[in-house]
Symmetry: C2
């Protein structure tokens, strides 16, 4: 887990700012949930591998002392784990959302459109753009089964990436039923569908052979595995983009898919015009709660995805009495930042930002109050002002201003004070001007505007 120094935070906030702006322009509302969830809320929602990656919090005080580890003689490992821990760090933002919706049904609108930008934690092995603490930028639409929802999510996310300067991303689109049909046709027993999809999800990461090995380990028959990999090698990312789904191509490749699903996919494409959507029947997504459309965003220079999502009509019902349809999309902030950094995509005002517009120097111990007053006057004019905190030699103060790249320095010496003036030094040009004190703010504001 990493610290973010000021230059990092500014870049992060720039991206988050654009994400928020676009989500809000689509009518999504902000939600925040606590970092810590009850362990039982999270368990069993992310598949077996997910369970292993959850950070658990140790019980406190009395509760811990009363746990089996201290009171019973046996040592049963899995039982011990649950005796020791009742809370955990959130693993994603979708499960907490489902819990919130189930708990607050009457307070939320029928169609609840929310965004949520918060960190999540996974005890995973770090890799490029993958960290144990990372931010997800989620957007979800609750309450409707209409494909308008899927299309709106794809449109919003595509608009964000375009506004950030991405022009080569692809939104891969698939549907759980397409995958189920393919798996059935290949002869994968239904009880192995989940495991098989988790393995296929790794096609990009571990390659065809890796997936074959994993499928064998999970008990998928060799004939089924072979047929499956043939289908995926054939179809993987070859179906072109377009406003209208080309049903002939799709049905030639996967003639097993039902017309109903093709209609849904067609609607998504139609309702999300201008988005670079690519149908990819091999897209699986690792999470087990998806029930309908699944999506993932890729760029050529990153092995992982910039984000992904899908429909999960069964999840909210796990926390309440009612099944409520839902669909969401999650952007990975760190992935986006890695690519933007490598490509140099940040605008200059973000990449070269400074802690302040002006540094006010201290002339001597006696004039400190006057320097502080000047700083306050300049702030009233909307300028960001830092005050050098010690009455060091002026040369040292100006050298420091240069080191922190402040564009202007104000000197308020005895002469300036006597004449009610201020000397402004432009740190870029070296130019120096003595001006009326109450003109100072206006003059600097003109420069920095």
């Amino acid at each position: 887990m990493r610290d973010f120094l000021p230059a990092d935070v500014r870049k992060r906030n720039y991206v988050i700012g654009i994400i928020k702006e676009v989500y809000e322009s689509y009518g999504f509302e902000p939600l925040e949930t606590p970092a810590v969830e009850n362990l039982e809320t999270l368990m069993g929602k992310y598949g077996e591998e997910g369970n292993q990656l959850i950070f658990r919090i140790l019980k406190r005080g009395e509760k811990l002392v009363q746990s089996a580890i201290f009171s019973s003689p046996e040592r049963d490992e899995s039982r011990t784990l649950n005796e020791l821990s009742d809370l955990a760090l959130r693993y994603d933002l979708t499960v907490p959302l489902a819990r919130v919706v189930a708990n607050n049904k009457n307070e939320l609108p029928k169609f609840f459109k929310r965004y949520q930008i918060q960190p999540v934690w996974r005890a995973d092995r770090p890799a490029r753009g993958r960290f144990r603490e990372f931010y997800q930028c989620d957007v979800d639409s609750i309450g409707s089964s209409s494909m308008v929802v899927e299309a709106e999510l794809i449109s919003a996310v595509s608009e964000i990436l375009k506004r950030l300067g991405f022009n080569d991303f692809v939104v891969r689109l698939n549907h759980r039923e397409v995958l189920a049909d393919i798996l059935d046709t290949a002869g994968v027993p239904e009880e192995l569908h989940g495991d098989t999809l988790v393995a296929i999800d790794k096609l990009d990461k571990i390659g065809t052979e890796g997936v074959a090995t994993e499928l064998a380990q999970r008990g998928v028959p060799e004939t089924a595995s072979k047929m499956l990999l043939d289908i995926f090698e054939e179809t993987h990312r070859i179906i072109g983009e377009g406003k209208e789904v080309n049903r002939t191509i799709v049905s030639n490749l996967i003639n097993i898919v039902s017309n109903e699903v093709l209609t849904k996919i067609g609607e998504i494409l139609k309702f999300a015009p201008g988005c670079p959507i690519e149908l990819d029947p091999s897209l699986a997504r690792g999470l087990s709660y998806y029930t309908g459309a699944i999506m993932e965003i890729n760029v050529p220079d990153l092995a992982g995805s910039l984000g992904g999502g899908g429909r999960y009509d069964g999840l909210i019902g796990m926390f309440g009495k009612e099944q409520i349809p839902a669909c969401g999309f999650s952007l990975g902030l760190e992935r986006i930042l890695v690519v933007m950094d490598e490509r140099g995509m940040f605008p200059p005002e973000i990449a070269e930002s400074t802690p302040a517009d002006v540094m006010v120097t201290l002339w001597n111990e006696e004039t400190i109050s006057e320097s502080i007053k000047l700083a306050s006057e300049l702030r009233s004019a909307g300028i960001r002002v830092t005050v050098y905190p010690e009455a060091d030699k002026l040369g040292k103060q100006i050298k420091y201003a240069d080191s922190i790249k402040v564009p202007f320095v104000c000197v308020l010496g005895e002469n300036e004070l006597a004449e009610n003036k201020v000397t402004i030094k432009n740190m870029g040009s070296g130019e120096q001007n003595t001006v009326e004190r109450d003109e100072t703010g206006k003059m600097i504001a003109e420069y920095t505007a």
Copy 2:
């Protein structure tokens, strides 16, 4: 720990926005640190009571299996705790800052002024405005011993509270050396100074008798305890505010305090003009890392404080070779929000905000694409637009728009489509107008501006 629904998040973001703006206007830069720290980074920094309140994270996988709990026959409770856990949730933002400064000395400016607005976690009993997960809004100045630093922090924090609409807050100011001098005079043995200050810190919470009991329990002699409480009852919050410290009053009350400390306090008052500072020799602050000035902000209608801080010249040295002077201030977001909520201090645009400016309806299945296109056109005009996701009866759609308090609804029926027009319904007045489609954005923007 709580969920924040959209109306809550908007209020939180409003307050955070003002805090950021003011901190940045003073030249403070943003920093972010991970939620999870090494346990050893946190242990021993917050006093004994603090240690108990740290949320510890259970070790994972192999590491956990290898821990003593599974491998050794004895059960030593305190050893077990450390065997089970190597990570913990951050308890405040000051210790992580000290770690960051010690680790990144060469990358940071000599005077590092940073702000940090992030959650912290304490396994504390919840109370009004006190939660187990809460946000701290910290501002710290690293690298200078000058009282310009203390004054600047108090000024920035006071400006924030004024801009939020607080006009009755008081910044209580004290100095660790004042407390040490009082404790010495009262006859408290030096090794009990820390414990005594923790007890005195609770004067507001548990009253004179409660503090007396606690002092007795901690082994403070009764004569010392009595003298101490006499001094504090006499001086508690009675020394008036003012631009210049009234040395006569102060020295009459605490004639034991050294001239050097009085000079420092005088400088703080002088360099922070216009701030409602009140000297309070009974202010203690519970954290053990303070070494100089200590501050706390109070309002009449909250038992706890809105924020507090102080100088901690010894903390950074605990993480690196070098002692670096430092001083900081922390505002408690939840405390501020509790008081603002109760007093109704939020501006109407925050208190009555809506998910979108316009809801676009769907006429029928065939015109969905056109409605989506209209929404996109309106967004380009800077309007926040939500699209009703299903082709329900128009009445139902408009009823829904009313329930989510959207001020305008756009209808794009067959007539409108044929004539390239849009019908705008003003939900407040009920007024309805059919206008040219490409005028729609402009007309709504005028209303919502």
